[in-house]
Amino acid sequence: MGWFGDTVDSIKSIQIRHALSQAVSLGLIVTSALIIWKGLMLMTGSESPVVVVLSESMEPGFARGDILFLHMSKDPIRAGEIVVFNVDGRIIPIVHRVIKVHERKDTGEDYVLTKGDNNSDDDRILYAPGQRWLQKHHIMGRAAGFLPYVGWVTIIMTEKPIIKYIIIGALGLLVITSKD
């Protein structure tokens, strides 16, 4: 009763000025997160600079729950690089390694074939029906660095949404009731 009563009391005793300053600091947190994300997008040139590995197809290099930092530059794609690509008709992007490259002389376009390190076959079965090569517009970025385990947070949150709501609720309550 004590903690609950205190909380109710403190919610009741919010003054207008206090509420304003809290709103401002909350806004500051949200906008700075947005600034960091957009800044990363500018720095890396990739539309999603950080991705989480969801499958085991790149084991033992990348495990489920690892975080990859992507990088997208004008440089042409070369064999051996690990790229993140979108296939038409699939929502979730795939992280695999390039095993074959054909670069056109006239247009400079790359035709790329990928394969997961842990898969026995190349990715033609994963591509859209009839598609034999990946091209520039399919590729979102190439992996430049990685951090293990951190991605588990997002995996747990997307697979068990109730945990997400509990965390958001708790944080919200903390922001409302905090005095400083």
Binding site: D117, G145, L147
Partner: protein, 217 residues
């Protein structure tokens, strides 16, 4: 010695004959002070509690732990820069198993390779694995660059980094078109070092070239 210890211990107890009277709560305050305290008690008490609450301490501990962990990861990744690897490798094409034109017009060749390499110097304490592959690289009238991976492997530890392998090409060597007869290509050994944490890096070594036969077989 023992006696000394005894006296020492007993001394403070008998300093005064009467034990000090327990102070009644807030006895030193005057009535007006008491009143004042009653009024203002609510705010300072709450403040004090917040400063040393469980949540406050857990937050401080978590922030500190995450900062240290991030710093350690960054330092581990940076330490890789001090390593200057000097890998060696040798590749030989032993035999062209067959060489033909597919029904769709693309040339395909199958060959037997002998690969030996010493990649031990690539490993540091922050290395999870080294991905190594052998690629055939050549130019055709239509394409400025063709890279075809012929063989690849994952080296999990330094003990396995000195190897020798006799193999036919793992992936199909198919050209985009029919340009492989009499074509000379470079064999290049590439390696990608995957760290336990941090930045990945890659390098390559251009090896001997090889000229494919003039006729299908």
């Amino acid at each position: 010695m023992l006696c000394d210890l005894f006296t020492h211990r007993l001394k403070p107890v008998f300093v005064s004959s009467k034990p000090p009277k327990k102070k009644t709560k807030n006895a030193h305050l005057s009535l007006s002070d008491q009143k004042l305290q009653k009024i203002t008690r609510r705010i300072p008490k709450e403040r004090k509690k917040k400063m040393h609450s469980f949540g406050y301490r857990a937050n401080a501990l978590l922030t500190f732990a995450v900062t240290i962990l991030a710093l350690m990861c960054a330092m581990a990744s940076m330490s890789d820069n001090f390593n200057t690897p000097s890998p060696t490798s040798q590749v030989q094409v032993l035999n062209i198993n067959w060489f033909q034109k597919q029904p769709n017009g693309n040339d395909e060749v199958s060959m037997t390779l002998n690969i030996s390499a010493d990649l031990q110097s690539l490993f540091t304490w922050n290395t999870k694995q080294v991905f190594v592959f052998l690629a055939a690289e050549y130019e055709t009238p239509k394409n400025a660059l063709n890279q075809i991976s012929l063989w690849d492997g994952i080296i999990p530890s330094q003990e396995h980094a000195k190897f020798w392998i006799h193999t036919s090409n793992k992936y199909r060597f198919v050209d985009q078109g029919s340009n492989l007869r009499g074509k000379e290509f470079n064999l290049t050994l590439h390696w990608h070092v995957m760290p336990k944490t941090g930045k990945m890096f890659a390098d390559k070594m251009v090896m001997s070239g090889y000229r494919l036969p003039q006729e299908y077989r």
